[in-house]
Amino acid sequence: MHARDDLVVDNLRVWFGHGARRREVIHGVSFELPAGSSFGLIGESGSGKSLTCRSILRLLPPGGSIGGHIRYGGVDLAGLGEGAMRAYRGSRIGMIFQDPLTALNPVMRVGDAIAQVIAEHGRIGTRPARSAAVEMMERVGILDAARRAHDYPHQFSGGMRQRIVIAMALAAQPTLLLADEPTTALDVIIQAEILRLIDRLRRDRGMSLLLVSHDLGVVASVCEQIGVMYAGELVEIGPTQQLLASPRHPYTRGLLESLPEAGDQGRLRPIPGAPPDPAARPSGCAFAPRCRLATEECRRQPIPLIGVDEHRASRCIHVQQLAEAVHG
């Protein structure tokens, strides 16, 4: 039984193109995000993590279509029409994006932009909406908010702009926040600040959070669960600490090993090879061409997600081997 605002993604598939040129790019992604918790989706560029996130609000690039189910609050979002979908955007589910420099309407004052969201969703007048907008700006940590509400986006720094983006996303009090690479375009110090802000806001409001990033460190600091994506599917999923301590998929292990550590002698160990071209996926495990543990069986047919225990799963038939490698 699912609680009210749990997010349940069930066999999500995404296609691009029409007719003969139609290609599946997300192949049956499933995971659960219980209300009030946080889930991190991690992977390289092209792994499909952004697309998965965007499909939830149906904000795909032109030519995209989805299949499967996305249940939120008991309703299957995947089956909704555009009009019904719009009712969810902003008011039930909010979303923030990667590039704060281009994410805001350059010709609108930021206070007005936020107020507009509040006014439309809350059906309240401009005056109360404007003061609510200023409040929102204060809550995301913008100093002198009342005065700065009259400024335009280009008058703010990158970090400040991202705070405004967050303010806009949360203005209508959604219960789930989708964050697509929110810190990628920011420098390291600001990254930490924004992550702290997101985490704090989440806790204060009891919101669920889906955080997408290619940076394991970012996801690890904020999320309770992690899903690792590769070539359009989830290859491992589990609670953050456990996953980081003992990864059960060669790709995850490769990711962890490739992270440069402070004490290292300076040798980087990237994963050899590159992700497959979506048009030319191998028939078996998508990671097999780059995997040290790959066997004939791996290449023969697609590997399903194998449950490791109650909270963990991995798309690798050598799951046991990996467990032993860590503990043995």
Binding site: L59, D99, V107, V117, Y152, H154
Partner: protein, 312 residues
């Protein structure tokens, strides 16, 4: 701050203005043979030719002539028209309001025609409607304005009697009524150019990140179209009109002839038959000046429209 910016822009324009005056001055040099003889035509007698020579200073060295020309132009003195026997400056001045009104009217109409089409095409990008509109634009690039004018005058003016087909009317409302068909003709002939440019700009705006942010925030289609899309399309719209003002002016020249409007364009064309070369020079100069002014005005309009434009 605005004054300083204006001052600087004006300084930048000076070389162009000098160049324009030079070109206009040199125009008369193109006349094969003696310009005085050409002007007088059959009335040419040695005495008259000599008189014109001294009147126009054609016997002085060329750079002196240019300086004289420049000097008088700067004083607004374009000389006396041979044909009209009146000050050219006055003639030209009297006709400016009509041409300017026609230009503004036509520009407005072309935006009214082009913007909805461009919006439709941009929203339904790649679809049948978009392709159809693009084809429409491509096909109408070759519409001759004078032909259009004649047909519109025939169908809407004569046959249906909706609009007058000649003259400028009297008073503001009557004047506008008289200018409607001419303005519509010009608008139709430049709508394809404007429309294509607008469509391309609108597609860029629709694809931009901030529109996605707006959608993600759950704003209604109407709100996004108005405050996100259209508001950001004003600058491209102003740009495309400003860039194409030369074509607008060309259109007025044609249309003033077709609809017998007493503007600068018809003055230009009739002066060719009367071989009144000084009028031709004056009108050409004024129209070029107008283009320069419009470009300058556009820069100022950008400041009002786009908060990112900083007057440095």
């Amino acid at each position: 701050m605005v004054m300083r910016y204006l001052g600087r822009r004006l300084l930048q324009i000076v070389p162009v203005l000098v160049g324009i005056s030079l070109v206009v001055f040199l125009l008369v040099r193109l006349i094969p043979g003696d310009p005085a003889r050409a002007m007088l035509g059959t009335r040419a007698t040695p005495e008259l030719i000599a008189r014109l020579h001294s009147q126009f200073g054609l016997d002085k060295p060329i750079w002196v002539q240019y300086l004289d020309f420049l000097g008088s132009v700067l004083h607004g003195d374009f000389g006396i028209s041979f044909f009209y026997q009146t000050s050219i400056g006055g003639l030209v001045l009297a006709r400016i309001p009509l041409t300017v009104a026609l230009l503004a009217y036509a520009a407005l109409m072309s935006i009214i025609l082009a913007l909805p089409l461009a919006l439709l095409a941009a929203f339904r990008r790649g679809g049948v409607l978009d392709q159809g509109i693009r084809l429409l634009f491509t096909g109408s690039l070759g519409l001759p304005a004078f032909w259009l004018g004649l047909l519109l005058a025939l169908i809407l003016g004569v046959n249906l009697g909706l609009f007058p087909v000649s003259g400028a009317g009297s008073g503001v409302l009557d004047g506008l009524w008289h200018l409607t068909l001419p303005a519509f003709t010009i608008a139709l002939s430049i709508t394809p150019i404007i429309g294509r440019s607008l469509r391309s700009s609108l597609i860029d705006v629709l694809r931009s990140d901030f529109v996605t942010t707006g959608r993600a925030a759950g704003l209604s289609r109407r709100t996004i179209t108005l405050t996100y899309v259209l508001r950001n399309s004003l600058v491209p719209a102003v740009t495309v009109l400003s860039v194409n003002v030369g074509w607008l002016i060309g259109g007025t020249v044609i249309v003033e002839q077709v609809f017998a409007l007493p503007g600068l364009g018809s003055l230009l064309v009739t002066s060719i038959t009367t071989r009144d070369y000084t009028i031709i020079q004056a009108v050409t100069l004024i129209l070029a000046l107008f283009v320069v002014l419009v470009n300058l005005a556009t820069d100022l309009v950008y400041v009002a429209l786009d908060p990112r434009v900083v007057l440095r």
